[in-house]
Symmetry: D2
Subunit: 257 residues, 4 copies
């Protein structure tokens, strides 16, 4: 039975399915919403067993990607898992890939990208605001993925330094202003993705994409509906998010002479 | 500028965004819906440029995950990208993970899993039907991922040989019959996922999951709606898939004494 | 220009689009959330003009069906306009029809039915609970439709006294227990409708409907999504109701010998 | 037991739930997709019983609103019941109301409006194209509602002759061009509704509505999903209409001095 080792990133799950990430090697002993305990106490616990802090019970798990997303502290509006998941497949986010996002927000999409490209890959994140960078960096450190991510305090609409990127994801109010730079920075066959809440943002982005050599341009929205399964019967949840953002994708080609 | 090398898996994209996978090292020269040509002709072409076969034009790209899904030949009903993408995040499919699926169908989910766990990971696929195995194996070979996948002609409801799996995804008519085996085969903290079109399948699966040590049990459905952006205006597509399947997730814990 | 006459049912609309129904002939002068004024002051005001109570401004309108629904005080969960509207068309609710509903709830569906069948029609409402009846009756009186509705303190699963009804709408937890009575009470070609939040309720209702002479059996759910149109752009609302209830319809035929 | 009388509008329903409207007083005896028979044969049949034409069986019903919609022959794209139903409630379509629509299309919305306002009400329909008028008129005659409807071969963007209308519904490509005329023609408190497939149409309509005295401006879209209930289990239908049109509503006030 696998046990917690020193340096493991452990996820504590409470009865409401909240996730708290604990680095067993860290020296802090105050954990917000969990309590006070020495993280070293977790070492040699068996994964899947329970752990008690004060009067609260937790399950001890190796930290999963979804735990990292649930434990993330939100400052800005985040790209939700329902949208990030589609970005993985449609942007060809696989191990070893080199991708860029802008802006970093709270680091939610960053976390997904970093966990999927893995230690052989690289995520570059452009963000103008210092406060967002600091906040997101804390989230990345907490999730043990800071080494995969390079954050730059830069405005992506002013240029991209990297070349031959596999994918670029823009979550900024004016993605059209970065389309030319994205074309320059992408490898041929690389994917540009924009995430925009407003229809007019999608339309303006199309206008700019049409001016550059891209093919396979398409847009969709996603809806996720929870199903409540109880003793008395099954039904969709009354709560549902009516909208997040539209996802637009396009693929770089070389200029056709 | 990156060029095609011998042994590369190239994706040819036509003007309707269809994808055709070509192994530049293969000896075949008849390619269905593409035409007749020697794959070696692709070598040294620049990625992102065009390639002509007969009177048809194609773009030359490194084969992406989504290309592999689009090029897949369908025999059985497949798990669509809209659902597979959520499975990645909610099942913690990341590089190096060891996961199991049953059945293999046409190999669509298999392709997604294999591309994400990568060469450090492993996908086990249980399938009862020999014809499905053969069909799916052709799809996996075409996508150059057959080495990551071990297919077993087995009924998952009769037992799972592997241990300490990170995730198990069941796309079978009676997932409840494999819940106990899934618990046995999962590592603590590992995720069980079932994909079922019918409400009663979800309910019966809940009934069985409740008998075993699992937490974090939830179900949702996803909807994807294409947005048509044209000169004359923007609107959602009139075409939409009303339903695929319900995704259910649960996480293994150790028995609570 | 049409002016308010004594006895008119006036709708006062505030800047947040709330509706308050005022009977110009009534003697009360305290109106919750509106203020204190003599309703007779409204007489001879021009419809479409403004009316001030204290420091609050209202528009003066003839009370519409939707005003009546917005002004309705809720006690129980109500059938929302998005579902009631489909009931009109699928149950053939038109002027002069005789229809029955059970239970009355807060009188929301009752209001829709009464406004559409009109003074030539009739709505029978079966409700077990005296408190619901009193609450709903206040709503009906406020909407000036009490004469169209006959409320009976009865359990619809114990029988229906009326015959030759054009439609019967069941919003009760166990609609299957009233299916036989509904068949007895409907005219041939009349429509039975059930509104149920749970899938199992729909299934159990089907089981009972299949035992009686009905045809044209079908079920659907409806979703409504608000679109926010602002200067800065257009998008669907983030808020959305994920589920209300499933609407099932069936049509009475004579027993086939 | 109610029997068919001479002059009744009878609905014949086949086993696939298709509806065919038969006027028992009419002299034709060829009925497309039904067969050849003398409509007078229906007289004295009991409603709810079966009727055989050649080798086809039908149920005999009094023609319902929904039968009339199902029997309607389509020429143009129609406003579907799922949208027409919301128009009833949000436009205050009740018995005796006077409403206008433009254009008539195949007469689908016309049928709904006429059936609800009834013989005490009035529907005016503006349509530019003579061929649409003729086609729709045949549908209205078939549904026995032609007396409630006055069709005018006119372009609604050039003016509306009627005054004090209770509601105006615009299903034309450029509704904004008729907004001023709609304001002129509506009674205070009357409702303007536009039905438009494109977001830009909604936006342009808002731009024009904002220039005139209207309040309570809002827009929504509706989705309808069929639920398949079978012996083997229940699930939403795989088929679903992804989009029809956006419904926008606004209410006329008097100019605020």
């Amino acid at each position: 039975m696998k046990k917690v080792k020193k340096g493991d990133l452990v996820s504590l799950i409470d009865k409401n399915n909240n996730a708290y990430l604990i680095d067993t090697a860290q020296s802090t002993d105050h954990f917000k919403k969990v309590g006070v305990f020495n993280p070293a106490e977790l070492i040699d616990k068996t994964y899947g067993s329970t752990f008690t802090v004060g009067n609260k019970n937790f399950y001890v798990f190796p930290a999963s990607l979804y735990d990292k997303l649930k434990a993330l502290k939100r400052k800005a509006q985040i790209i939700l898992p329902k949208d990030a998941s589609h970005i993985i497949i449609h942007c060809n986010i696989t191990p070893g890939k080199k991708v860029l996002e802008a802006g970093i927000g709270s680091g939610s999409l960053t976390t997904v990208l970093a966990c999927i490209v893995g230690s052989e890959g690289k995520v570059f994140s452009y963000e103008k605001r210092q406060d967002f960078i600091e906040h997101a960096l804390n989230n990345l450190k907490q999730a043990h993925i800071q080494d995969i991510v390079t954050i730059k305090q830069k405005d992506v609409t002013e240029g991209i330094e990297e070349k031959n990127l596999d994918a670029i994801i823009l979550d900024i109010p004016n993605p059209w202003d970065a389309v030319k730079h994205a074309w320059d920075a992408l490898a041929p066959g690389g994917i540009l993705c924009t995430y925009s809440p407003l229809i007019s943002q999608v339309e303006d982005t199309y206008g700019e994409i049409h001016k550059h050599p891209f093919i396979s341009l398409y847009t969709f929205e996603t809806l996720q509906r929870e199903i409540i399964v109880k003793e008395q019967g099954t039904r969709p949840s009354f709560d549902m998010l009516g909208h997040t953002g539209y996802l637009t994708f396009a693929r770089k080609i070389l200029p056709v002479k």
